[in-house]
Each structure stands twice: as structure tokens, then as C-alpha cells.
Chain length 305, copies 2
């Protein structure tokens, strides 16, 4: 099925997300020509080897020239530099979007540099794996996942509709909301979970009474689940925490407050309260499975390690 949405797109950053977009766009015929940019030489060379895209550029501006859609798929902290690089080369009426896990900061970083007549519509596909780089991507990554767009109040409806069509073409569901609301929603559904996972893995490595080898051998008791997201790309995640600081600190405050209450219940042997929480939390997983956002298979359908 071919449903061309854009004549020419540029994908800046050919990591897990960028390369999945290129693969998906090609597979579904969403773009006529795909220009790829990456400032990392090895990534760019690998993209060329893999045949990801039609032309390859070390400079984001070169890729963006003439593009109808510029998809910025770089760590959030690199967005301002990309905006500066592409701004002078953007074609009038071009759509500029991104895939970052923080949205208000992206607007602050990019908007001042973009010329009038260009449509900045930030976005965030809520999808990924713990792997990084051009080899890690796959065309089906966005299927049945949600892609959030945070258009400005005065967005051009036609531009928004084309970007929505592009994400739907990749298999995603699309929802729009404000950048600020996105940032608090993702703080709870993504940033806090990553922070907690990184933290517990760090704690486990440091507890003196238990060896690293014991932590790893007996990790099937629950710990290993956390190591997956704690193996995510360090640069990307450093930038997320630095750029969504207020929302992360807010939900983190709630988390620790709740954790202290739980700690007190354990100390004082309040079994009924523990039981109530542990019962309540079951329903949320059922809801996620019901919405098609999680597998119903036991243990994630994990192959035996």
C-alpha cells in the first residue's frame, strides 16, 4: 500500500527512532525521497551501508534543504544546535518536528531560530527499545503505539493533518496535547520509571553485603526487569532529566512520599495496607493490556534467558 504523504523528508539523527522512521516510511511509501543526516560519522556510514534513505549528509542543513518534513531525532539537548543548522536552509512551508521525550524545552530551543512560514509541530512517539543506533531500528516500532503531537495554538491545520497522516502511516495512534501537559504525563509514565530503574540498578551494584555476581545470578526474582530500561541510551536520558527537571522533580516528590508511607507500613507491620495497595496495582496492568499497550503473556512472553 503506497500512500505518499511527503515528497521529500529529512531525518536528522539515525539512531533507534530515526532509523525506524526511515524504515517505516520506506516500507509504507510515505515519502518520495529520504535524506538522512547524522553528525556521527560511523552512524552515517552505517546508514548508507544499510541503505537507510536516499542521500546522506554530515550536516543537518544539507539534508533539510528542500525537505517538506524535517524530522529531528536527536537527544533533546541537541535540538537547539539542529535548529540553528537547518534554519537557513528550510523551504517555506516546511514542517519541522521532532521525537524527543520532552516538549516544552524543544519549543524553547528551536522556535526562536526557525524562520516565519515554517511549521514547528513538536512530537513524541511513545515507543522504543533499550537498544540504540541505526541497526536497532525496525519498521514496526510504532505500530499500535501512541505518538503525541504538541502543536502550537495557531498551528496550520493542513500542516498538522499531514504530520498526523505520516504517523498514522507508520502505524501509530496520534494524540495532541499541550507541551506542558505532555511533559508531566511523560514524567510519570516514562521519566520517573527510568530514573527509578537507573537508581535501583546503581544501588544494587553498591550494597556491600551482596556481591555483583549474586545480584546477577538471582536477578530473576524481579531485579532483571529493571535492568532493561536502565540499559537505555545514557546521552538521551541525561538530556531528558536536565530538560524536564521541574516535572520530574514534582513526580519524584510524590513517589518518595508514597515510598515513605510504604516503608512505615512495613516497619509497623500494617499488612492490611500493604495488601490493599498490592491489590489495587493489579488493575492497572489489566487496563494496559486491555488497551493493547502490553502483552498478556506471562513474564512479557520472555524467551528463557
Amino acid at each position: 500500500m503506497t500512500t505518499l504523504v511527503f515528497e521529500r523528508i529529512a531525518v536528522v539523527g539515525i539512531g533507534l527512532i530515526g532509523s525506524s522512521i526511515v524504515r517505516g516510511a520506506r516500507a509504507k511509501g510515505l515519502a518520495g525521497t529520504i535524506a538522512v543526516a547524522d553528525h556521527a560519522g560511523p552512524h552515517l556510514a552505517r546508514a548508507r551501508e544499510l541503505g537507510l534513505g536516499d542521500d546522506w549528509h554530515a550536516d543537518a542543513g544539507d539534508a533539510a534543504a528542500g525537505a517538506d518534513l524535517v524530522m529531528v531525532a536527536v537527544p533533546v539537548g541537541a535540538c537547539e544546535a539542529v535548529a540553528k543548522a537547518i534554519a537557513p536552509r528550510l523551504k517555506p512551508g516546511a514542517i519541522v518536528t521532532d521525537v524527543g521525550s520532552v516538549k516544552a524545552s524543544v519549543v524553547r530551543q528551536m522556535k526562536p531560530h526557525l524562520p516565519a512560514g515554517v511549521h514547528l509541530i513538536p512530537g513524541h512517539p511513545v515507543a522504543g527499545t533499550e537498544f540504540s543506533g541505526p541497526d536497532a531500528g525496525f519498521a514496526e516500532l510504532f505500530e499500535n503505539r501512541w505518538s503525541i503531537l504538541t502543536p502550537p495554538d495557531d498551528v496550520d491545520p493542513a500542516a498538522l493533518a499531514r504530520l498526523v497522516a505520516f504517523w498514522r502511516g507508520l502505524g501509530a495512534n496520534v494524540e495532541t496535547m499541550t507541551a506542558e501537559h505532555h511533559d508531566i504525563v511523560l514524567a510519570i509514565t516514562s521519566h520517573l520509571p527510568h530514573l527509578i530503574a537507573y537508581n535501583i540498578v546503581g544501588t544494587a551494584a553498591d550494597v556491600e553485603q551482596v556481591t555483583q555476581s549474586e545480584v546477577m545470578k538471582f536477578s530473576a526474582g524481579g531485579f532483571r526487569d529493571f535492568t532493561r530500561i536502565a540499559a537505555s541510551d545514557p546521552t538521551m536520558w541525561r538530556d531528558v532529566f536536565l530538560h524536564n527537571r521541574e516535572a520530574v522533580l514534582e513526580v519524584l516528590g510524590r513517589f518518595t512520599e508514597d515510598l515513605f508511607a510504604l516503608q512505615r507500613q512495613i516497619r509497623w507491620g500494617e499488612g492490611d495496607k500493604l495488601f490493599d495497595l498490592f491489590t489495587r496495582t493489579r488493575a492497572i496492568r489489566r487496563g494496559i493490556i486491555g488497551l493493547g499497550q502490553e502483552t498478556p503473556a506471562p513474564d512479557f512472553g520472555r524467551r528463557k534467558g
Copy 2:
């Protein structure tokens, strides 16, 4: 391959773990006769329907009578009641073991009730899924997982060897350690991860700015990973926290201390420190995969939700 280890075994509690043991023992021919007990009528009836075992008893003592091995697979808080029920019926020289996630408490609960000449060798297979009940078990659950035994200093070597042979027959690796060491190791590799998972799922449900529906829709950003172990059996986990209180509070103290350090790094924009932690945590997952305790497939090899 038939390798009979025990003429007659009794499995008390036919949930996920008990039913997996029965299935595995039958599949591998590890036991001549398998008696099953469960005080919950529906579980017992279901075990009979599924043909799990050879005879079925509402009373643990009835199942234990004449058994060479009594495998207690009940929530940790129920161990004392089971010990009292089986004690008068145990055959001299019988081995009594369990599968609980806490070991020192099990010894305290059971040992005073058991007659001389019976071998109490507590155990804990570090394996499971988030599902419960007789239907949830499967014969392969213990394959390539670790089963920890915490024999007393004066354990009878022959009895220990038979129990080790039984677990190896189920496909498990076996390690022995003291009950006290087990409890701190599992506090970090299993109990703390469950506590954190339960807590974050509870926090996410309560944050007012984000709806329950948004939490579920956008859970693929990381949150859904935590909901799996937060869907574990509430009774079992209430008991774990009540019975391993000291070790859990100790590792929880370390976790929150580390989390406050991380919070401060975010507040003060210390990106280098964040990057260092996020890099260090990657190695632990590689180690777990290297030890065969985790799948190398991206996203746990999860089927699309």
C-alpha cells in the same frame, strides 16, 4: 529420562510454584507418588481436574503422611500453621522444605514444631511469573533458574544431596547459603524491586494532573515494565515484606539515599554524574544476559501488545 529421587512427595499449596513443581516432577519422573494439599477448595478441585498429582487433600497433614519429601509452597506467613499441621504425621527421616522468598522467618516458624529425625532444609527457587494459581504453573519454570537452599549447619548430607538432586531434576541450578544471607540477597534482587514497582504504580494512579487513562495509554514509555511485577500475588508479597522487614528496610534506606543524590543531581543540572550512572548500569544487564538469566532480545522479546 526417569530419575526417581523420592518414592512419595507431598506438595502443600498448589499455586504457581507448587503446581510447577508437580508438573516438573511428573514430567521428569522425579517422584513415584505425588500428594497434593491445598486449604483453598477451588484450588484443590482445579488441581484434581488438571490431574496435578495422584491424591488430593484439604489437610496438609493427610498429604504429608508417609511422604519422603514435603514441599511447602504457601505464602511465607502460613508456614507455621503448615508446620503444626504436618508435624504429627511426618515419617521419620522425611525431608521438609519450602519455596518461600524469606528464609530466616521460615526457620523460626517451622523448626520448633517439627519432630526430631525430620530434616528441615528451607529452599527458594528464584523463578516465577506475575500469575498465580494451579493453572499458572508449568514444568519448565525452574529450568536454568537458581534454586537456593539454606541448610542448617548440622544438615544431614544425604538428605541435602537428595533435595539438591530433586531441584536439579527440575532443571534448576542449586546454591546453598545461610538463611540470613539469603534474606539480604533477595531483599535487593527481588523484594526491593517489587516494593518499588508496587509503589510507582500506586503513585501513577494518584497523580492528579494525569488521568488513569493517560497513564495506561502512554505506558510504553517505561511504566508498563513495572506493572508486571506489581501484578504479583498480594498475599504472598504482603507476607514477604512483613517477614523480611529488617533486610527490606535496610536496602530501602540505601535506595532512597541514592535516589536523593540523583534528585539533587537533576536539580543542580549535574549532567556528567547522571551520564556516569546511566553508563554504569548498562554493564549489569549485559552481565545478567551473559549468565543466562535474561533474554538478549530487545524489549524482552515482547510480543506487540
